[in-house]
Amino acid sequence: MKILMSWLNDYGDFGDPTSEADVASLSDALTSLGLEVDSIEQVGETVDGVVTARIVRLESHPDAAKVQRVFVDAGDGVERHVWCGADNISADDIVPLATLGTTMPNGMTIERRGILGIDSEGMLCSAQELGLGEDHSGIRLLPADTPLGLPYGDALGITPDVLFDVDVTRNRPDCWGYVGIARDVAAKLGVEFRPPVPVFAPTGDARSAPVEILAGDRCARFTSTVISGVVVGESAPWLQRRLTAAGMRPINNVVDVSNYVMLELNQPNHAYDLDTLGGGGFRVRMAADGEHLVTLDGEDRTFSAQDLLICDANDIPIGVGGVMGGLDSEISNSTTTVALEMAWFALVGIGQTVTRTGMRSEASQRFERGVDPYGMPTAIARFADLLAETCPDLVIHDGMVDARSDDLMPEERSVQVRIGNVNRIIGSDLAADDLPGLLDPIGYTVSGTGDTRTVVLPTWRLDSTAEIDVIEEIARHHGYDKLGSSVPKPAGHGGLSVHQQRRRQVRQVLLGLGVTEAMPNPFLAPDTLERAGLATEAIRITNPLVSDESVLRTSLRPGLLRSIAFNESHRRVRASLFEIGHVYPPAEGDLPGEFEQLTVVLAGAEAPAAMAVWRELTASLGGGARIDQSKVPAGLHATRSATLQAGKDPLGAVGEVAPDVLASFGVSERVAILEVDLDQFLAREPKPSQWKSTSRYPSSDLDLSFVAADDVPAEKVEKAVRQGAGKFLVDLDLFDNYRDPARPGTRALGYRIRLQAPDRSLTDADVSEVRRGIQSAAAKLGVDLRS
């Protein structure tokens, strides 16, 4: 909401707009009330050297087609000559003249300049050139009675002013009008609040524009007032200036007054030409599906049965209730009698129509937040007062129609406020007797005695319905800065859960292994999962920003592959990345099967590198899984990948990404990959390792090499070695896997086996026995010692 300080001063003395201190104090007061000042703009600066002048005569020049010679009188009796390209001027018009030496807002200085050898002694100015608005279609014409030679700012009543841009929160419907803001800030600053007191009363004979409300749940009150003696013309300059400052274009006196009343009193309203209003009355009803209307903004809009229409008495739509009028019912220059609509519409319905149709207006945003359902009489009189300034013969007719539905909320709503509860919630030390002083000035009327008081809620604060709402008002006007500061004692102790601690540990292990954390977009394009070789069932966003980000990931893999491709494209090969994040596979239930996943991708590395990461993780965090190469996870390299199997459940996958998947992501390196269901992995917290004594006796090493067929997993050979070695085994290390070209289909696996006894030195006989044991265990697998 844009607030012009001089305008706000109509309702209280808030200080001098040219005083920095006054501006700062008003700004601070607004912010301290929750009316955050987003910006403060100096306005009403005028251009020195531009004065009022009368056009004496105009002459065209035979050699100049686009400009004419204008002779002006700036009140000093000297006739000045200027060249001018505008065609909206004629003799005796009063215009702004920029005299020689004037520096215009765009930086140009007016100099004596010749066209066809004839000098120009100044420049006539458009509104835009003077910073008075957007209009550059012609010279800014001034009222005919304007004295000559005056600075144009004086002639137009322009004075230096300040424009506040106030961020009005949703709980302050009243602050969409000047009066609401003034009431709040006057109470805060202890300044007398002077709301407008309109005096205009019905005097004319009874004339009515009847109203029929057929949708009472959406329109609880609709008043219509017949006003005659209207002469459509321009508004007074002061009113035009204020509207312009508020960002509204002056149109004519009727529309301008309508807008002014809305800005001042937060009562949107609409004036219809009664002579063209079909049947001379109104019907308020829901639209029929597909019914349409060309609205004021020139759009032909189609409505549904959830939209509210204002129709004339012949049931022809003339406006969208609370949002926008129809194009055909606009006030015209020949209008003399208007039917003035002031109504109250239900908040939610307006919001839905706005959302559905995309129509937004100054009126709809006010109705959507809540307008005073009892503000109409004041607003009608104010409308008449202001219009009478330009229409001396204005008459309000008796017979105002005030149609109400059962849904109109009662004028008096009250809540009980307990001072003990006030102090409990806001931590203050207020007495019940402090309440009237804090609340009465903002229209919350306190009555009663004792610790519980009755507070009547203002009709303009529809957001206020309960005790807590009043407590907030008390806190605001008491001052948030006066509430004190204390730190509550926690009942227990703080800390991370075991799960959270172990998650951090996973991250530390990976960082230590040189893997960098990534955080790619969790939203995928519709074809991404398929390109990754993954199942395509996924949760989809029904209202995505772009369709390329409309699928929720079921795996971290695609995002990380994209990140590798991105880095490769910047000549950063061998990227090692991991991500810990949620994936969202579809599932039956209240929510999808969301869980936390860990994925590690190692570009330029082969599957064993991923196995090494997995071993480090299990070594650090405990747990483990069977490496089941018979189950190749989707999208991974068929002969270099395995499912991590923990009991019956798959815990993840390890191996390499399939070459065709890499190609479809534009990745040119091999990519080793490890995927782990972190929810499962972190949940399996191992018992603390128990101490085993270390032997003081010397150990013996036994190096054995086995020839194993390719289809015998090393894991099984290792298991056999362990079994065969028995109780003396303390360490086992696969140090060699040699593929002899002379023995295709096999490879040699070399193990270093360290043996030790807890209570004595081992003898050669002990070692020989271990060797025989291992040999026979291996033989059962069909694996022999290499000769």
């Binding site: 301290s32 009330l33 929750g34 955050e36 929160t169 949703r170 908040l347 939610v348 919001g351 959507e368 409990r424 919630i425 806001i426 931590g427 807590i468 709402d469 907030e472 806190a475 948030y480 800065d481 509430l483 004190g484 500061s485 204390s486 730190v487 509550p488 926690p490 227990g492 703080g494 800390g495 991370l496 959270q500 951090r504 960082l511 292994l513 040189g514 960098t516 954390e517 990534a518 955080m519 977009n521 969790p522 939203f523 949760i539 989809r540 966003i541 029904t542 209202n543 920003l545 991105f566 880095n567 950063r572 990227a575 090692s576 949620h582 579809p586 209240d590 929510l591 999808p592 969301e594």
Partner: protein, 338 residues
């Protein structure tokens, strides 16, 4: 005899002085000082002397010679060892600025770094860390937070909806959570007061990315529910956090604002030591309707909640001009930070 002893001693001493390696010293030790060494041989010949005086004199000479040889050997052994060590050390000289193998270490994401620092500060203040799902029910994300269906404030959340339909439920009631506040509800429903939790997490809005906004970003939220918790406790907690996280010279303030799930509501600003203010987040007293939705009697208990962005903490700390940079996974970006 004595002259034999003296000449043997002198020959040994001269030879020992020439030793240049530990091996040579070892060989000479055997040759001159060993049990079968030259002086030991002479000693065996003592018995052949006839006169007691000659025996005594020769014995004394041999003992003196053996002592001299032992001492010379020890001295030479030390000298040779020292020289060998120096030679080795000298031969192993390296230029340490000529490193070859680059140490590789991973880099934690900036958001994670900020997230963990925040967690650590709040844990130190006695908070526990709660988490919740990123896909939420409309009820947890809006309705329980005092935004019933049709509530106008819902429009301000720019919600992304997903096509999941709960059994017996309706389409359009499953959302990507727009804030971490549903975790408040889940915590209250699963745990009796007193409650002291923070809830960091990923949230989503239908926002076009620009230098300060991402549709996917991270928030941290705090919730305290206990008997007689007041706005003074909220102000004090915010201030304690401000000082712990940013520094003792930093201050904080609350000013009125509006959120549907708190009342009274406030924005909280923090003040740099130079006096300038930064808007940080939103907070307020938990609305009685929200406590009730969480199964907590608002007449018996009261509470406050606060929340702010994690990503912004990372950006502020490292001077990142464009938030989008943090989510490209560009190693040239990531590796700038430890």
């Amino acid at each position: 005899m004595i002259s034999d002893i003296i000449s043997a001693r002198d020959a040994a001493l001269a030879h020992i002085a020439e030793a240049t390696s530990p091996d040579e010293v070892a060989a000479m030790t055997t040759r001159y000082a060993g049990k079968k060494g030259e002086l030991a041989g002479l000693k065996k010949q003592l018995g052949q002397l006839e006169s007691i005086d000659d025996k005594k004199a020769a014995g004394a000479a041999i003992n003196e010679a053996m002592a001299a040889v032992d001492s010379a050997l020890a001295e030479r052994r030390d000298a040779v060892a020292t020289a060998a060590l120096s030679a080795r050390v000298e031969s192993e000289r390296l230029d340490l600025t000529e490193y070859v193998a680059k140490p590789t270490r991973g880099h934690a994401h900036l958001v994670t770094q900020a997230w963990e620092r925040l967690e650590d500060v709040f844990v130190g203040m006695g908070f526990r860390v709660a988490e919740g799902p990123e896909i939420e029910t409309d009820w947890h994300n809006f309705e329980a937070l005092n935004m019933p269906i049709g509530h106008p404030a819902r429009g301000e959340w720019d919600t992304l909806f997903v096509d999941h339909v709960p059994p017996g439920g309706q389409a359009g009631t499953t959302v990507l959570r727009t804030h971490t506040s549903p975790v408040q509800i889940r915590t209250m429903l699963s745990q009796a007061p007193p409650i002291h939790i923070i809830a960091p997490g990923r949230v989503f809005r239908r926002d076009t990315p620009d230098s300060t906004h991402m549709p996917v970003f991270h928030q941290i939220e705090g919730l305290v529910v206990d008997r007689d918790i007041s706005m003074a406790d909220l102000a004090g907690t915010i201030d304690a956090f401000t000082k712990a996280f940013f520094g003792q010279e930093w201050n904080s303030r609350l000013r009125p604002s509006y959120f549907p799930f708190t009342e009274p509501s406030a924005e909280f600003d923090i003040q740099r030591p130079d006096g300038s203010w930064i808007e940080l987040g939103g907070c307020g007293m938990v609305h009685p309707d929200v406590l009730a939705a969480g199964g907590i009697d608002p007449e018996e208990w009261s509470g406050f909640a606060f929340g702010f962005g994690i990503d912004r903490m990372a950006i502020m700390r490292h001077g990142v001009a464009d938030i989008r940079e943090m989510f490209t996974d560009d190693l040239r970006f990531t590796e700038q930070f430890s």
